[in-house]
């Protein structure tokens, strides 16, 4: 081939400080046209900061950004967009109450033009969605869309502007494996058309699958770069962590007595999500029960029942052998159930509360933290500090609002809050979503230690590898139905996949009748 390599993007010696923290330290990076570079790094390494500088949402303290040879004015997203840079942010930047079409066309063209040209716009969006397999209805309200559909809208927003460089900041963190595959199919089409991509993900198999080159960022500095073809997952993990990344060993364990039992529990459907259909499950001391399944098949319903948010419509809950009448989140906490919620931003923490307040969120009434209705801030703060030290939560201190923490550190605080309560039962719902490998290993290690101490753990995850590695018993959930429990190593991924697709249930029903 004699194609000339065109440099699409050049970041030169970008430095950005937040107070005393240097988030980016003289970072240089270049990207050729049609190339996919994966940016790899631990939580808090400075990936998002770097991308925000490129996209003009942050202003760098020094350094320049050049796009197709032209230097961009700093801190100007409009200029970045006009130069052909698009960005899909780590957290959706969509207005829920507006339609898909409105979100896509917002700010395209002059604000002072009078024509809305809706039908032409709609046709263009339809054409793009067809071409790139991004099916979504232009007139739908974004608030009514699923997470996967919202991600499609984010991509469409960029494609609608004919971007030539697309930044994807952890786009797959919230997607199911199937949705991730669809996203990759879309990206491949666009890349074939000459799109250049910067792709950020903690999932190494995704990095291996989509990228041409990998660049590693650690503590704000570039520490390595390799061609994807010349490396493998293991090497990438080592490169990223700076040390060998080894997943924790899973020792043998003998299960103790049942601590929590669901007996033929049923719940009503919620919108599109199926409720539970006569689900029986028992969680034993010293055992990890893994719940595998495609998201939206009743995982949320099980989590809500166990966490006390929903009372079963039918069936009963047994704790330590005796049935339960009143079932509320407080009852659940009192009975020794601790939760790692699925969405740490929405239901796990209160963004504007500081670390101390978030640390005692579920237990502020208990003896150590309050007396006669008065909060004891001294012991609360000491508790938060203990978590910060023991679980290595990187933050300026217990008085920091938790929204300033990176996802990994937020999760560590939640984990500490859960484990320090010495729970009998741990509900771990997507406990490692969005975390880097180091943090994943750490969280898993802590869960295994809790198991060794005799806790019963319900692990809900869409990641089959995670479920298979961690669980002593695996149940598959599909359409609100729960499969029988399969012992460690007794099933192959393919067999589990069949259950996840609902196949196993049909055979079982056929047997029964």
């Amino acid at each position: 081939m004699d194609t000339v390599v065109v440099e699409a993007l050049n970041l030169d010696a970008i430095t950005k400080r937040f107070g005393t923290l240097t988030a980016n330290d003289a970072v240089s990076l270049s990207l050729s046209e049609g190339e996919v570079v994966a940016l790899l790094g631990e939580n808090g390494a400075g990936k998002t900061t770097l991308m925000n500088i490129l996209f003009g949402q942050y202003t760098a303290d020094s350094g320049t950004v050049r796009v197709f040879g032209k230097t961009l004015p700093p801190g100007n997203s409009r200029a970045a967009l006009d130069a052909g840079v698009g960005m899909v942010h780590q957290h959706f930047t969509l207005a829920d109450n507006l339609t898909v079409l409105e979100n896509i066309t917002l700010g395209v063209g002059s604000l002072l033009s009078t024509s809305s040209g809706r039908s032409a716009t709609r046709d263009r969006i339809k054409a793009l969605s067809q071409k790139y397999h991004l099916s979504v209805s232009p007139n739908a309200r974004v608030g009514a869309l699923t997470v996967g559909e919202r991600q499609r809208v984010e991509i469409l927003k960029a494609l609608y502007r004919d971007v030539r460089i697309l930044i994807l900041d952890e786009p797959t963190a919230v997607l199911t494996p199937q949705e991730t595959d669809d996203l990759f199919a879309t990206l491949r089409l666009a890349i074939a058309d000459g799109l250049s991509v910067i792709f950020i993900s903690h999932k190494l198999h995704e990095v291996m699958a989509i990228s041409d080159r990998v660049v590693v960022l650690r503590h704000g500095k570039i520490t390595g770069g390799v061609r994807t073809a010349d490396t493998d997952k293991h090497a990438l993990a080592t490169l990223m962590m700076g040390t060998e990344a080894t997943p924790p060993k899973v020792p043998q364990s003998t299960p103790g007595p049942a601590l929590l039992k669901l007996d033929r529990v049923a719940t009503p459907d919620v919108g599109n999500a199926p409720g539970l259909k006569s689900v029986s499950l028992s969680l034993h001391a010293g055992q990890i029960i893994g719940l595998a399944g495609v998201s939206g098949n009743g995982q949320a319903a099980i989590a809500d029942v166990v966490g006390g948010l929903v009372k079963p419509a039918e069936g009963r809950i047994e704790i330590g052998g005796s049935g339960i009448d009143r079932w509320t989140p407080r009852e659940a906490v009192k009975s020794g159930i601790a939760r790692i919620p699925e969405d740490r931003h929405k239901t796990g923490t209160i963004a504007d509360f500081d670390l101390t307040e978030n640390a005692i969120l579920e237990r502020y009434r208990s003896a150590g933290f309050s007396k006669a209705g008065w909060l004891n801030w001294r012991s609360s703060r000491a508790f938060a500090e203990a978590i910060i030290n023991k679980y290595d939560v990187r933050c300026p201190g217990p008085d920091t609002p938790i929204r300033l923490l990176s996802g990994g550190n937020m999760q560590k605080l939640i984990l500490g809050r859960v484990l320090e309560a010495a729970p009998r039962v741990i509900l771990a719902n997507q406990p490692v979503r969005g975390l880097d490998i180091g943090a994943v290993n750490y969280v898993h290690g802590q869960l295994l230690e809790a198991r060794a101490r005799g806790a019963a753990i319900l692990l809900i995850s869409e990641d089959l590898d995670e479920v298979m590695a961690m669980s002593d018993v695996i149940h598959v959930i599909a359409d609100g139905q729960l499969s029988p429990g399969f012992g460690r190593g007794s099933m192959t991924p393919t067999e589990l996949g069949l259950w996840m697709a609902g196949q196993g249930f049909k055979n079982e029903n056929a047997h029964a009748s």
Binding site: S77, A95, N97, L98, V108
Partner: protein, 314 residues
């Protein structure tokens, strides 16, 4: 005369439309601010300043429309003050809004005393006169009620349609609505949230001041202390009542005005002789509260109302 009979008089409907007009201007102004995500509690004071500024301008010899322009400009200045404090500096919208109301009200009274130190009763101006729209004003009942109003009233109703069209049918309106729903989405599309929000507050405040000016230049012909008399606060409620939509908010203003026009007339009926007049004065407020309770259940609050946004901060 019976209360039912009142509803069939042209004078009742004419009064309703007249009373609604200043509310419509100010409600539209507040609605624009809130759609962009900024609660503007400066409304009451800005209306006072507009009432004075328009009237004073005309009293000093300018034309009526120039007077309206002056009122609008004064309102926009207060809007600039409000939005500078609340948008780039992100200060509490409640505190700044009440502060602007206090500042605008007291500085207006001060300006009045400076301009007219000696007078005991304020001088009169020649205010806007009713303009009978040819043909339409000949329609029985409706004609004298709707089409024999002052030009400012016609402007108020035209503005409802204009604001609605701009909000829902133009890129600018989309940007304003998006700024009130999710400012991060606006920033991610390369727009300046600060500019959009400040612009909305400044324009909105200008409309509030025109609402105030209506009182001195169209309803009465003179400026009195206390003449705005809580209308600004009513408009805040009307925005909620209208679920942040111009058309619905206008209906709310007309409804409130109708209660008000009705209570004045009801005082003169046989019923009025038996019931203390304060009860009648309360009526529009009580009915508005009831209407608000019913309507605001389904109200769609802009999701980022009162949420400050600063680029480059988490």
């Amino acid at each position: 005369m019976d209360i039912i009979d009142i509803l069939f008089t042209a004078s009742f409907w004419a009064a309703t439309i007249r009373i609604a007009s200043p509310l419509i201007f100010a409600t539209l102004g507040e609605l624009i601010c809130e759609r962009a995500g900024v609660l503007n509690l400066g409304i009451e004071g800005i209306m006072v300043s507009g009432a004075f500024a328009g009237w004073m301008a005309v009293y000093s010899g300018t034309g009526l429309w120039v007077g309206v322009g002056v009122a609008m400009a004064v309102g926009m200045l207060f809007g600039l003050l409000h939005s500078t404090l609340t948008v780039p500096f992100g200060l509490s919208q409640h505190v700044v809004g009440l502060g602007v109301t206090l500042l605008a009200t007291s500085s207006t009274y001060y300006a009045y005393r400076l301009a007219l130190p000696e007078v005991t009763s304020p001088p009169k101006i020649v205010a806007f006169q009713p303009y009978e729209i040819p043909l339409l004003s000949d329609i029985p009942l409706l004609g004298p009620a709707l089409f024999s109003q002052t030009p400012l009233t016609y402007l108020a109703f035209v503005l409802v349609a204009v604001v609605g069209l701009v909000l829902y049918r133009t890129p600018l309106g989309l940007a304003v609505r998006a700024a009130g729903e999710n400012p991060a989405a606006v920033a991610a599309q390369g727009l300046s949230v600060t500019t959009i929000r400040m612009g909305a507050v400044i324009i909105g405040s200008g409309l509030m001041a025109v609402g105030g000016a209506f009182l001195t230049m169209s309803a009465f012909d003179s400026f009195f202390f206390e003449m705005v008399n809580g209308r600004g606060w009513i408009c805040i409620a009307l925005v909620v009542f209208g679920s942040w939509r111009p058309g619905k908010a206008m209906l709310g203003a007309v409804l409130f005005a109708a209660f008000d026009a009705l209570q004045i007339r009801a005082q003169q009926t046989s019923l009025g002789a038996q019931v203390p007049y304060q009860i009648f004065l309360m009526m529009p407020y009580i009915l508005s509260i009831l209407a608000l309770v019913v309507m605001s259940r389904r109200a769609e609050v802009p999701a980022a109302l009162m949420v400050p946004f600063n680029k480059g901060e988490r």
